[in-house]
Amino acid sequence: MTRRKFIHKLVEAGSVIVVGISWLAKNTTPRKFVWAFRVKKYPGSLKPLRDISKQSKWSG
């Protein structure tokens, strides 16, 4: 292998490592959210709307 080819392969390998590390860092970092996306199905049980005119038993 000539010196030129060796340096070329070294640069290539270095680039692959840098790109790989950047990709991993970008994709394994937790995604940050303020807004949460909606879901269409409520995971709990639902009830029909009843008379809402009386005061709540909850504080506030």
């Binding site: 991993l24 994709n27 394994t28 970092t29 937790p30 995604r31 940050k32 959210f33 303020v34 807004w35 949460a36 996306f37 909606r38 879901v39 269409k40 199905k41 409520y42 995971p43 709990g44 049980s45 639902l46 009830k47 029909p48 709307l49 809402i52 005119s53 009386k54 005061q55 709540s56 909850w58 504080s59 506030g60």
Partner: protein, 343 residues
């Protein structure tokens, strides 16, 4: 910041290694594993995407008197449609509403209504309520539902009221306040130690939220629940009143509320009326104009008096207005403008 969208549990997700998500809504900044929820129990990581499972699903819808929030300086004597979903980002040992605030959406004993923002606004109008309250648990954990409903309600001429612990980050708080008219914000104690030990939170974000809310121009009232032996020392009350006076202004109404043994704090006695009246006196001596007593009946502590000439302005009995003598928001005797939204 990622923007909103709509999806279902079964929706196809992009394949990636982004499994953990970080919720930046509140100061807890929960780092959430796939399939897990944040501390609030209602913001969940599904396939690397943060989802709110309570959007459009309140567990409580009731019409309350606005004095129950408590708001004494905002449309007195009017009914307010009040909602909450399950969940809370704090876990106060003394929580009065722990059955819903510390519940999971899946819990069998707590069911929910299907009530998207459009239906909620229509319900408010149909019941002739001039305002809508996001209350009981904490509107911060159902942030997107609160935000969308408040925006829609505002465009329909309905006022929006938050009843909250104010444990939220600055950016989402400012966004939400654009659509809010009034808020009752808890200041649960005046030391960081109290917040850490009793509420699993910290003091500074709450103080920031209070300052931002007041500076935004909405009507702000503050509630402090006095718990025997934990935050009932005269010096603690004085410090709290001073903080309110300096940072929010002497015109900010302050409610001292009585504690009842609930949830994980059943070993302490209820707050006595004497303690609440002592707190009220201290706060008034520190220069606060409107100091009230809640959860226990106190004739003077329920009423609004003119801070200038001391004449009785609003006579209350519990949540009922017996007499309101304000003239265009001013004292009828000396003409002093009284802090509030009166019509």
């Amino acid at each position: 910041m990622t923007h909103r969208g709509e999806s279902s549990f079964g929706a196809k997700q992009e394949v990636s290694l982004k499994l953990k998500v970080q919720c930046e809504l509140c100061p807890k900044m929960c780092l959430i594993e796939p399939g897990q929820s944040g501390e609030c129990r209602v913001r969940i990581n599904i396939d690397g995407v943060l989802r709110t499972v309570v959007y459009g699903y309140p567990c409580s819808i009731n019409i309350d008197p606005i004095e129950k929030k408590p708001l004494y300086h905002f449309l007195p004597g009017t009914p307010i449609l009040s909602i909450a979903t399950v969940g809370c980002n704090l876990h106060c040992e003394n929580c009065q509403n722990w059955e819903i605030s510390q519940a999971n959406p899946e819990d069998e004993n707590i069911s929910a209504y299907f009530c998207p923002p459009e239906r909620l606004v229509a319900l408010t109008k149909r019941n002739n309520c001039p305002s809508l309250a996001y209350t009981y648990t904490d509107p911060i954990v159902y942030y997107e539902y609160t935000y969308d409903t408040a925006k829609l309600a505002q465009s329909a001429g309905i006022r929006n009221v938050l009843v909250t612990a104010g444990y939220i980050n600055e950016q989402p708080w400012k966004e939400l306040l654009k659509y809010v008219d009034a808020a009752n914000i808890d200041l649960k104690g005046i030391t960081d130690d109290f917040y850490r030990r009793v509420c699993t939170g910290t003091l500074k974000p709450v103080q920031n939220a209070l300052i931002i809310a007041k500076a935004s121009g909405i009507l702000v009232e503050v509630t402090n629940l006095i718990i025997p032996t934990l935050n009932d020392k005269p010096e603690q009350i004085r410090q709290l009143a001073q903080w309110v006076k300096v940072n929010l202004g002497g015109e900010t109404p302050l409610h001292f509320s009585g504690f009842y043994p609930r949830y994980k704090m059943r070993n302490l006695p209820p707050t006595s009326l004497n303690t609440l009246e002592m707190a009220r006196q201290i706060a008034m001596n520190e220069g606060l104009d409107y100091v009230y007593i809640g959860n226990l009946r106190s004739k003077q502590g329920e009423n609004t008096y003119c801070p200038s000439c001391k004449v009785l302005l609003i006579d209350r009995s519990g949540f009922t207005i017996l007499k309101n003598q304000l003239k265009d928001g001013c004292c009828p005797d000396c003409g002093k403008e009284i802090y509030g939204v009166w019509k």
